[in-house]
C-alpha cells in the first residue's frame, strides 16, 4: 500500500490520542513519501505514552509539514522520495506495525546500499525542521549531574579524562554529605520549577530517598522483578528455537509494561512505558547496571528533555572469564568495582554529550563527581575550560559555582 491510499479506518487500532492525531493529518500523510510515512507513524503510534517534550516535537513537526505548500513539502522530502523501495515492503502492514516495518526497511537500505542516502535525507530533514521550529527559552539552564564509583575505595584510573578539556577538574573536593547535597539540589530545582518530567534521578542501585514532588525516579534495583520477567521471556523465546536474534528483537519491541509486571495504569503509563523500553530496546541494560544508567540518562535527555538530571552509577556484575564459566557454570557473579568505575567514567562523558545535544546547550551546566572521594569535574559557561583546581571545596560550593539557579 502507498501513503496516497491511506484511509481513516486503518488507524482504528491506534491508541486514542494517536488515532486522533493521525486522522487529523490524514491529508498530509497521504502526500508524504512511502519511505518516510511509516517512520513517522512509528513515533506517532506511541503518542499516548510520550513525554510532553516529545509530544511537542511531534506536534511541531506535523504543523511544520502542514504549513508548507505542496512544492515546499516536495523539496523538504526530496531525499526520501529518491529512495527505492520494493513491492514486498509496500505490501507490509506498515500502518499497524510501523516498528517491524522500519526494521525491514533498514535492512533493505543496508542491503541495497541506500543507507547513506537515507542517512543524508534524515539529517537534512532534521536540520530543516529544527531551523524552522521556534526556540522557547528554558526557565533555568539545564543541569546534569553524574556520580561515579560508588563503593570503590581507590583507583589509579585517570577519571574524567574526556571531560577535562571542557571544564575545571577539582582535586580537593570534600566528600562529606555529597550525595545528600546533590539530591537536595535536584529537589530545590524541582520545587522551584514543577514541570512534569523535568527533573530526574536515575540510580544504578536501589536509589536514595529523595524529598519533594515532581521528581521522576528510575532505579535498576526497583526494576529487578521486571528484569527477571523479561529475561525469562527471552529465555523462553530462545529455547523455543523459533527464529534468531531478529525474532527475539521483534518480540522485545512488541512487549508491553504489563507483560513484565509493570503497571499500565494511566498515572504510571508514560514512565512505565519508558522503563520497559529501557530494558527491551537497550542492549545490555538487562544485565549491567552501568549500561542501564548510561542508557537511561541518554534516553531521558533525548526524550523528556529535562531541566535537571542526576545519574548515579553503582557497581555492575562482573563478567566472568571463560575458565571460571567452565569451572563453575552456575555460580552467581560477583561485582566488579573497578570495571564499573571505568564504565561510569565513559557514561559520564556520554551523559554530558547527550545533554549538549539539547536546546540551550550553551547555557547548560554539568557536574561529575567520584562518590565519597575528592575528584570532581565542573562545566558551565561561567567556568574556564581545561583547568585544574586544588582548592579545597565542597559540593554545595561547586553547585553554586555552576550557578544554574
Amino acid at each position: 500500500m502507498l501513503p496516497s491510499q491511506l484511509k481513516a479506518r486503518q488507524f482504528k487500532k491506534y491508541p486514542a490520542e494517536a488515532r486522533q492525531l493521525a486522522i487529523r493529518h490524514l491529508d498530509l500523510l497521504r502526500e508524504l513519501p512511502a519511505s518516510f510515512v511509516p517512520l513517522l507513524l512509528r513515533e506517532l503510534i506511541e503518542y499516548d505514552w510520550k513525554f510532553p517534550a516529545e509530544r511537542k516535537q511531534m506536534d511541531g513537526q506535523l504543523a511544520y509539514l502542514q504549513s508548507r505548500s505542496a512544492d515546499q513539502r516536495q523539496q523538504v522530502m526530496a531525499g526520501f522520495a529518491q529512495l527505492r523501495l520494493t513491492s514486498e515492503l509496500e505490501r507490509l502492514d506498515w500502518v499497524n506495525a510501523p516498528s517491524l516495518y522500519s526494521e525491514k526497511l533498514a535492512a533493505y537500505f543496508w542491503a541495497s546500499h541506500q543507507i547513506d542516502a537515507f542517512r543524508n535525507a534524515a539529517e537534512s530533514y532534521i536540520r530543516t525542521v529544527n531551523a524552522a521550529t521556534p526556540k522557547e527559552p528554558l526557565p533555568i539552564p539545564r543541569l546534569g549531574i553524574v556520580v561515579v564509583g560508588q563503593g570503590v575505595p581507590e583507583t589509579r584510573y585517570p577519571l574524567f579524562r574526556k571531560l577535562r578539556p571542557h571544564g575545571v577538574f577539582f582535586s580537593q573536593v570534600k566528600p562529606a554529605n555529597g550525595v545528600k547535597t546533590l539530591l537536595a539540589a535536584v529537589s530545590r530545582r524541582a520545587g522551584a520549577h514543577p514541570i512534569p518530567y523535568s527533573h530526574w534521578y536515575i540510580d544504578g542501585g536501589t536509589g536514595e530517598a529523595i524529598s519533594g514532588a515532581g521528581i521522576t525516579t528510575v532505579s535498576y534495583n526497583a526494576l529487578a522483578p521486571a528484569r527477571v520477567a523479561l529475561l525469562n521471556r527471552m529465555e523462553e523465546s530462545i529455547q523455543s528455537g523459533i527464529g534468531g536474534p531478529e525474532a527475539l528483537r521483534t518480540m522485545l519491541h512488541q512487549m508491553r509494561p504489563e507483560e513484565i509486571g509493570l503497571s499500565g495504569a494511566a498515572d504510571q503509563a508514560v514512565l512505565n512505558r519508558f522503563q520497559t523500553t529501557l530494558l527491551t530496546e537497550g542492549s545490555g541494560t538487562q544485565i549491567f547496571s552501568t549500561t542501564f544508567v548510561q542508557w537511561a540518562a541518554r534516553e531521558a535527555w533525548a526524550r523528556a528533555q529535562p531541566l535537571t538530571l542526576l545519574a548515579r552509577f553503582a557497581q555492575r556484575q562482573r563478567q566472568r572469564p571463560m575458565n571460571e564459566l567452565i569451572a563453575s557454570p552456575q555460580e552467581k557473579p560477583a561485582l566488579d568495582p573497578q570495571g564499573s568505575l571505568i564504565d561510569a567514567d565513559m557514561g559520564a562523558f556520554y551523559t554530558w554529550l547527550n545533554q549538549q545535544r539539547l536546546p540551550g546547550a550553551e547555557q547548560s551546566c554539568f557536574l561529575a563527581w567520584f562518590e565519597d572521594h575528592n575528584q570532581a569535574l565542573a562545566i558551565s559557561p561561567t567556568l574556564p575550560r581545561h583547568t585544574e583546581s586544588s582548592s579545597p571545596v565542597d559540593l554545595e560550593w561547586l553547585l553554586n559555582q555552576l550557578n544554574p539557579s
Binding site: 534468531g244 549491567f288 571463560m322
Partner: protein, 394 residues
C-alpha cells in the same frame, strides 16, 4: 520520525567525513613520528625487484577483528595505551594502511564474508547462509589445485559456519575452506561428559547479548578435535580451562592447525571486543588489550613454526569501526549502526617477507581490496572480486 535536536559540539566543527580523514591523517602522522615510518607511495617502484626474492612456498595468515575497534581506543593518543603490541612490535615490521573503507553492511558475519569474497555481500547478517560470491578460499584452492587441508577458517560463532565456501556456481561445495568454530568445539567437548550444560559459553552474538545460538553436530566437532587438531577431548578441555576468553581459544586452535596441517591460507576472526554491544566500556577496552596481545602472539607463533617462519605474510584488519561519539543517532562505542564515516573507516597492517617495514600508506583503500591482493600474492585470479590489488604490498 523522531527529531533529536543537535547542537554542534565544542571543538568539533568538522563534518563527519572530515573527521574521518583527520583521524586517518593523525594515525599516519603519529606513526611517522613514532616509528620513523616512510610513506608508502614512494615504495611502488620497488615492487618488481622485490618479487624476485619471494619464497616459493608462501603462506598467508589473515586476522580480522569481528568486532570493530575505534580509533579513540586504539590509535588516537588516549587509546594507544591499549595497543602496546601493535604499536611497538608489529607496526615497526609492517606496511600500515591508515584508511581502509568498508562501504558494505556493518554486521560482522556479512562484513567478514565480504572481506573473504571481495564483494559487498548483501545477505541477512543473522541468517545461516553461505556468501553469494566465491570466497578467497575457493579461488585459492581451485586455481592452484590445493587440497582441502590447505585452507582453514577459525571463526568465533555459529553464525560463521558457512563462511568457508560460497553458494556460487562452479565454486562452492567441496572447494572451500574448512571452518572450525572453537566455542562450538568446546561446548561439544564439555557436553560429551554429559554433565553440565555449557550453553552460556556460546553466547557470542553481542548484538543481542543474551542470545544463545543453537548447537548442532557435536559428532563432527569432536571428530575435528581428534582427526584434525590431534587433541584428545580431555586435553582440549583441560587447556580451555586455562584460557580467559573465546579469542584465546581461537588462537590456540589456530596454533594447533598450524602445527598439524600447516595450511597455506589461514583466516582467524577474533571477536571478543564485540562485547562492546553490552555497553560496558571497561570490557570493550579489556578485549582490545587482549586482541592486541593475541595478534603479537600469532605473529610470534608464526615465527616459531618451521613451516611458517620466514615465508608467511600476515594481514591484520578490523572488519569495520564502531559509531563515533559525535553521532547522535548512535551510542558511541557500543554499536556500529549509524553507518557514519568513522564506523566505516578503519586500518590494515601487513607484514612478512618482502613487505616494506615501517611504511605508512595514507591513501584511501577499500576492505574489498584484500582478496585481489591475496590473489596477486599467492597467484590465483579472484575473477568476481571487485577490489584492486594493493601495489604497496606486492
Amino acid at each position: 520520525m523522531a527529531i533529536r535536536r543537535r547542537v554542534p559540539l565544542p571543538g568539533n566543527p568538522q563534518s563527519p567525513r572530515e573527521i574521518a580523514e583527520a583521524i586517518s591523517w593523525s594515525r599516519r602522522d603519529f606513526l611517522s613520528l613514532a616509528t620513523g615510518a616512510s610513506v608508502g607511495s614512494a615504495l611502488l617502484s620497488f615492487a618488481p625487484l622485490k618479487a624476485l626474492a619471494l619464497p616459493r612456498s608462501r603462506k598467508v595468515v589473515v586476522v580480522t577483528f569481528g568486532g570493530g575497534a575505534r580509533d579513540e581506543e586504539t590509535f588516537m593518543p588516549d587509546g594507544q595505551e591499549n595497543i602496546p603490541h601493535l604499536l611497538t612490535e608489529l607496526i615497526p615490521q609492517s606496511t600500515f594502511f591508515t584508511q581502509v573503507v568498508n562501504h558494505g553492511i556493518l554486521g560482522h558475519y556479512v562484513a567478514t564474508a565480504s572481506l573473504a569474497t571481495g564483494v559487498y555481500e548483501t545477505f541477512n547478517n543473522f541468517a545461516e547462509v553461505p556468501p553469494d560470491h566465491p570466497t578467497v578460499f575457493e579461488y585459492f584452492r581451485k586455481d592452484l589445485n590445493r587440497p582441502a587441508t590447505d585452507a582453514w577458517v577459525v571463526a568465533p560463532s555459529n553464525g560463521f559456519n558457512r563462511i568457508g565456501e560460497s553458494g556460487a556456481r562452479s565454486y562452492g561445495r567441496g572447494l572451500g575452506a574448512g571452518v572450525i568454530l572453537p566455542k562450538r568445539l568446546l561446548s561439544a567437548a564439555l557436553s560429551s561428559g554429559g554433565r553440565v550444560q555449557y550453553a552460556h559459553l556460546l553466547r557470542d552474538n553481542y548484538e543481542t547479548p543474551l542470545y544463545t545460538p543453537q548447537v548442532k553436530g557435536s559428532e563432527v566437532d569432536l571428530r575435528q578435535l581428534s582427526e584434525i587438531l590431534k587433541v584428545s577431548v580431555d586435553d582440549f578441555t583441560a587447556h580451555a580451562r586455562t584460557l580467559s576468553s573465546p579469542d584465546e581459544l581461537s588462537v590456540y586452535v589456530a596454533r594447533q592447525l598450524m602445527r598439524q596441517l600447516a595450511p597455506s591460507l589461514l583466516w582467524i576472526t577474533l571477536h571478543d571486543m564485540d562485547v562492546a554491544h553490552a555497553g560496558a566500556y571497561s570490557l570493550y577496552i579489556e578485549a582490545i588489550q587482549r586482541t592486541d596481545r593475541l595478534c603479537a602472539e600469532i605473529w610470534k607463533g608464526i615465527q616459531s613454526e618451521p613451516e611458517y617462519a620466514g615465508k608467511t605474510t600476515m594481514f591484520i584488519l578490523p572488519d569495520f569501526g564502531r559509531d563515533s561519539d559525535s553521532d547522535s543517532g548512535g551510542n558511541g562505542f557500543q554499536h556500529h549502526r549509524t553507518g557514519d564515516p568513522l564506523s566505516r573507516t578503519t586500518w590494515m597492517m601487513v607484514m612478512g617477507p618482502g613487505i616494506r617495514e615501517n611504511a605508512v600508506v595514507g591513501r584511501r583503500v577499500q576492505s574489498l581490496d584484500l582478496v585481489p591482493t591475496l590473489g596477486s600474492l599467492l597467484g590465483f585470479s579472484p575473477q568476481q572480486a571487485q577490489g584492486k590489488p594493493l601495489p604497496e604490498v606486492l
